[in-house]
Amino acid sequence: MKHMIYTDNEGFMWVAIVPDSLKEGQSPLAYPVAGPPDLSVLGLSQEDTKRLHNGLVEKGMYNAPALLGRRKELMQLLKSLGLKLSIFQIIGVFQQTYYGDR
């Protein structure tokens, strides 16, 4: 299995887990999405949510394990996007999605 990035009709980028045999140009839509998680709980505008969502995908930070050891990068991403969020809010959303309700 490998990861493939695609963009949906609303401009959100997603990381899908696809078979190694899937070729460039073939649609990954039928395959499970690895992330990112739903960021709407953060209460940002639709536009900021999309910028953050896609920024995370571009950095390869699409799920909780992919965030490990990358707090500094996450902080820099939030700064570059001009978003006044704590990195803990992002990590919290990622962890809750990945590890499930506890």
């Binding site: 909780a64 394990p65 050891g69 500094k72 902080m75 919290g92 962890q95 506890r102």
Partner: protein
């Protein structure tokens, strides 16, 4: 001073009769010099095998090294009209410590701050005593009389002033409650070569944010050049952790809130496995929720908790068994230390001190501060216990709590978080002021005197509200890793001192 060549005139001698201890003052010998030290490291012997390609020839297949010798050091003292201190030491035939202080621009009489390097000779005995010619037959023979001794010490090592810096800053988001060394020194025969101080595990609390972030272990296998995070996914979002310790090949986390332990192998944590954690609640009792852990060997771990509970674990995977169900004391216990598998001491609320001499039967002894909560304990010997209090005091007993002596610390600490001994000479105390601001104290004479570390002339301690825990490196009293709460009252901080 790092590249400055040390000159022989830059050395002065201190001796500590009966060895370094909180009540043994170092004695300065201004009219003394040290000669050439000899510290044999053990003969190296080759193991040969016949050369398969040539007759009458052999190849070296391996080699081994014998044990290190005792250290010998000649000392020369100018004889004065005072009674000879060194003759007294020789005739007493009791072990003492020698420290050779090397410095340049400071007052050599200042034991704590007057050096750039110290050579420590521990557990020394005088193997020979003599003098140069005591009389002069003619004017040409007139000379000062010297006392000449040779000491034989069990070990020798160096101490230098410490410098501190923050490490893993981009990774530590939550308060560090515990930090442990999970490394073993080795030449690479059984695992990767290591100085024994590369694999460090720091336990970070839950973030308490919304949404919550799990408590996690922040670990390194190269002294924090690279860092991995391991969220403890057997906890829930707002579960705080209480303490952690490396136990054999695992890291064990205890949580008062979950009343259980959580463990993962050190390798899984370092390899970044995403789901390495297992929770075990076997043996934990409601009302005896765990607060502190100490491990002496893979088979000997003690955990203390609320209600005076003491647990023992021979294997974290199998849980714990109750050693004392609050019969020695019913107070909440907050710290525990072990000198060996028999001698363990724990302290807690309302001046509670409990101890065991056999690893299983715990008794109470009256603590040093009536009505005060005790927050830290460290065993420097079977009978010598150091205790820190919630109101910033430090006490020591050398008779298992029958008598206590308060040791003063500069800077008026408001709380004591941690006391620990790197070896019999070097120890550290982590404290915090009312502000709050973290303070670190170091002793290089077994606790007789404590100074704020680092020296003001060398640098500052990275700003932090408090240091909760620290860990040492085997055979290197000049290295420490500490963890706590950063000076914003929110983030965590890991500090490396060396």
């Amino acid at each position: 001073m790092a590249d400055t060549i040390v000159k022989s005139g830059s050395s002065r001698i201190f001796t500590i009769q009966f060895r370094a201890r909180h009540d043994h003052a170092p004695m300065f010998h201004g009219f003394a010099v040290a000669g050439s030290l000899d510290y044999g490291q053990g003969d190296v012997t080759s193991i040969e095998v016949p050369d398969p390609t040539r007759y009458n020839a052999w190849l070296t297949a391996s080699e081994f090294q014998g044990a290190a010798d005792r250290v010998t050091l000649p000392l020369t003292f100018r004889l004065t009209y005072d009674l000879s201190e060194v003759l007294k030491l020789a005739k007493l035939r009791c072990a003492f410590d020698v420290q050779v202080h090397l410095g340049a621009c400071t007052d050599p009489r200042d034991f704590d701050l007057g050096y750039e390097k110290v050579q420590v000779f521990e557990n020394a005995l005088i193997s020979s005593y003599g003098t140069t010619d005591i009389g002069a037959m003619s004017g040409d023979d007139q000379a000062g009389i010297d006392e000449e001794v040779e000491i034989s010490a069990r070990t020798m090592y160096e101490i230098i002033p410490m410098r501190y810096s923050e490490v893993a800053a981009g990774y530590v988001g939550q308060e560090i409650v515990a930090i442990s060394n999970g490394d073993e020194a080795g030449c690479g025969d059984c695992a990767d070569p290591s100085d024994g101080c590369s694999k460090i595990f720091a336990l970070a609390n839950a973030a308490g944010s919304s949404p919550g972030v799990l408590a996690e272990v922040i670990a390194t296998d190269d002294g924090f050049s690279t860092v991995v995070e391991s969220p403890i996914n057997t906890l829930t979002w707002d579960d705080d952790v209480s303490d952690g310790a490396a136990v054999s090949d695992s890291y064990v986390v205890i949580s008062n809130e979950t009343n259980s332990l959580h463990y993962a192998t050190l390798d899984d944590i370092l390899d970044g496995e995403t789901d390495p954690w297992t929770e075990v609640n076997t043996g934990f009792v409601i009302g005896g929720e765990p607060n502190a852990i100490v491990s002496v060997s893979p088979l000997d771990t003690w955990i203390v908790g609320d209600g005076g509970y003491v647990y023992f674990s021979a294997s974290p995977a199998d849980g714990v068994e109750v050693m004392d169900a609050g019969s020695a004391t019913a107070e909440d216990l907050h710290d525990v230390d072990a000198y060996d598998t028999d001698n363990i001491v724990a302290v807690g609320d309302n001046n509670a001190v409990v101890y065991t001499l056999d690893g299983s039967t715990f008794s109470a002894v009256t603590g040093p501060a009536d009505g005060v909560d005790l927050t830290a304990v460290s065993m420097r010997g079977e009978k010598e216990w150091w205790v820190g209090t919630a109101d910033g005091k430090v006490y020591v007993t050398t008779d298992r709590g029958e008598h206590w002596t308060e040791k003063g610390l500069k800077g008026s600490p408001a709380t004591i978080q941690k006391i620990g001994w790197s070896n019999e000479t070097v120890g550290f105390i982590a404290a915090a002021t009312v502000a709050p601001a973290a303070r670190l104290y170091r002793t290089i004479n077994g606790g007789y005197s404590w100074t704020l570390d680092p020296r003001a002339t060398i640098g500052i301690l990275p700003a932090a509200d408090r240091i909760n825990d620290f860990t040492f490196c085997p055979d290197d009293p000049n290295k420490i890793y500490a963890g706590g709460l950063a000076d914003d009252a929110q983030d965590g901080i890991i500090i490396k001192g060396q």
